[in-house]
Amino acid sequence: MTSESLDRGTTLQPVRRTAGRPSTGIGGSVRAIYIVWYRDLLRFWRDRARIAASFAQPLLFLLIFGTGLSSALSAAGSAAGATGPVSYMQFMYPGIIGMSVLFASVFGAMSILWDREFGFLKEVLVAPIDRSAVAIGKALGGATQAMIQGLILLVLAPIVGVQLTLESVLLLVPFVFLLAFALSAMGVALASRMRTMQGFQIVMNFLMMPMFFLSGALFPLAALPVWLTVLTRLNPATYGIDPIRRIILAPTLPPGTSDQVGLTIAGQVVPMAVEALVLVGFGLVMLGVAVRNFRKRD
């Protein structure tokens, strides 16, 4: 490269001393949230392999675990009693959608750790924006990806013998999103405290797996021992998976009976609106923690 080739370019604009404006206002924050969210989706879209792989685990659960347990339950002659008016496969199917959302949300949000590892996070943190925009954009980005990964699984409905209607799918979208948002916000809050990838393994083993097992994804939450009843009701994921199940199974069940599969507290079925509020509340608290951590400086 010779210096002549450099001279051919257009003349650079002189520095405008009045240029840079800090974008801490609402407009700047909205733009920043948008672009952080958009980048996550762009990366998600480019990673087709991951989208394909996101089918694998739920399929394994449904086909092998689901079929195996169904057979065992029917051999024991207790299938009808255990999962109410639906088969075990039908019962488990919404739980597997919830599982996908659970893992995809937390993984998506914790991609912040990769950004930290590979330096990109620095580019975001030195920008003249309120750092809350980074936390919010990341939570929304993780939530959107997880929602898509969860909703993709609706194509499996015919295989497990679950009917879907336009109405049930439309009602499902906001609930899947709320679950995804609450868990993504939790993921961002966790990642905002971590400096290395090491913490990820701990989160996986000591938080995600218990949350999954205690969420009602795999077994009904009625008639459990007291300690398990308490733990499952303290789990925020429970309040996401239960409405997903009620909405998905409603068209399959006789009219007005979908509450039979619903979550109960002290013998009362919890209204879905209350479950939505629990998810929103949990998500906002987690987002608050994330924002506070992001605003700290060395």
């Binding site: 080739s5 450099l6 650079l12 604009q13 520095v15 840079g20 330096g119 924006i129 400086r297």
Partner: protein
């Protein structure tokens, strides 16, 4: 001082404490608008810590600093909007294209919507990456990534561009190339460049240099001014016994030699006349003797008593070089 001559970066008594360790021990600094200012020192001298404080990434433990007229501690957002940064380690998103990386930057820096596309085209043109705008960054060479980072740092028309070791781990040809862009930025756009380096040849390119060692600035000036501090010629003698040679030179010639990098280094007024006398008079066997005009290496050695190279090519540099060569996912 008139309005235009006001320093664009001003630091007074800036310190940074990490627990027991004081990494920066009171730095006073004035950088003028439109100059290329180099921060020269070995690894661990406090260069990166200082630059991080000036960029609002770290909070000073003491003292104060302003950049483009704004306080780095109390007016962080104002400072950030007026500076561009090129980090020591790559900070691009390797899974996005060059253009997408720049778009991301334009959004978080609030570049007005009407100007975005044009600014992006301009900076890509500046670093000659226009034809690679839509390629995924992962496929770029180390030099191309660095150029893209410089383009990104300039996208929001900052007044000051901070560069932390901008050419570390790059081959000499790429380094010259990067320098051509940097000079053009200064000459045509009038941007002030503030960079850290531990490469002497890179420091020579700067308008002014601050030599930093052990968390303190030991000298500030143009490369010529600093070299004038050394005065005469630099004679390097390799002997079988450096310690006796040092003692003899001190005794017989009344000079102050320094042992560095396995040779005895001494500053004399006229090397051509001194060398024959040295070889004749020394009782210690001399294996080689040479001289050169003072370089910044010699300035550093004289001011700090140790060579900058001692720590320069450490393990971290090696890792960075391999990292650049092989590339990560980013």
């Amino acid at each position: 001082m008139t309005e235009t001559e006001a320093p664009v970066i001003h630091a007074a008594g800036l310190t940074k404490q990490f627990g027991e360790l004081q990494a920066v021990k009171g730095i006073d600094l004035d950088v003028r608008p439109g100059e290329i200012f180099g921060f020269l020192g070995p690894n661990g001298a406090g260069k990166s810590t200082t630059i991080n404080m000036l960029c609002t990434l770290m909070r000073p433990s003491g003292g104060s600093a302003t950049v483009a007229g704004f306080d780095v501690d109390r007016q962080q957002a104002d400072v950030r909007a007026r500076i561009g940064l090129v980090f020591q380690d790559p900070s691009l998103d390797g899974q996005l294209t060059a253009r997408e990386n720049l778009q991301f930057h334009a959004f978080i820096y609030s570049v007005p919507a009407a100007e975005r596309a044009q600014r992006i085209a301009e900076v890509l043109e500046m670093v000659e990456l226009t034809d690679r705008a839509n390629s995924i960054v992962m496929t770029f060479s180390g030099g191309m990534k660095r150029r893209l980072e410089i383009a990104r740092g300039m996208l929001h028309t900052p007044e000051v561009l901070f560069l932390d070791e901008p050419t570390i781990g790059l081959d000499p040809q790429t380094r010259r190339h990067i320098w051509a862009y940097l000079r053009r930025l200064r000459d045509e756009a009038g941007v002030t460049l503030f960079m850290t380096t531990h490469y002497m040849d890179e420091a020579e390119e700067c308008d002014r240099i601050a030599i930093i060692d052990g968390g303190r600035i030991v000298a500030v000036g143009t490369p010529a001014e600093l070299k004038a501090l050394v005065g005469g010629d630099i004679v390097t003698v390799k002997t079988d016994d450096d310690e006796s040679a040092t003692a003899e030179i001190r005794e017989r010639f009344g000079l102050e030699p320094i042992v560095a990098d396995g040779s005895v280094v001494v500053e004399v007024e006229d090397a051509a006349a001194f060398m024959p006398r040295l070889v004749r008079d020394l009782t210690v066997p001399v294996t080689s003797v040479s001289f050169h005009r003072p370089s910044l290496d010699d300035v550093f050695l004289k001011l700090t008593g140790h060579a900058i190279r001692d720590e320069a090519a450490g393990a971290t540099d090696m890792m960075r070089m391999f990292g650049r060569a092989w590339g990560g996912r980013h």
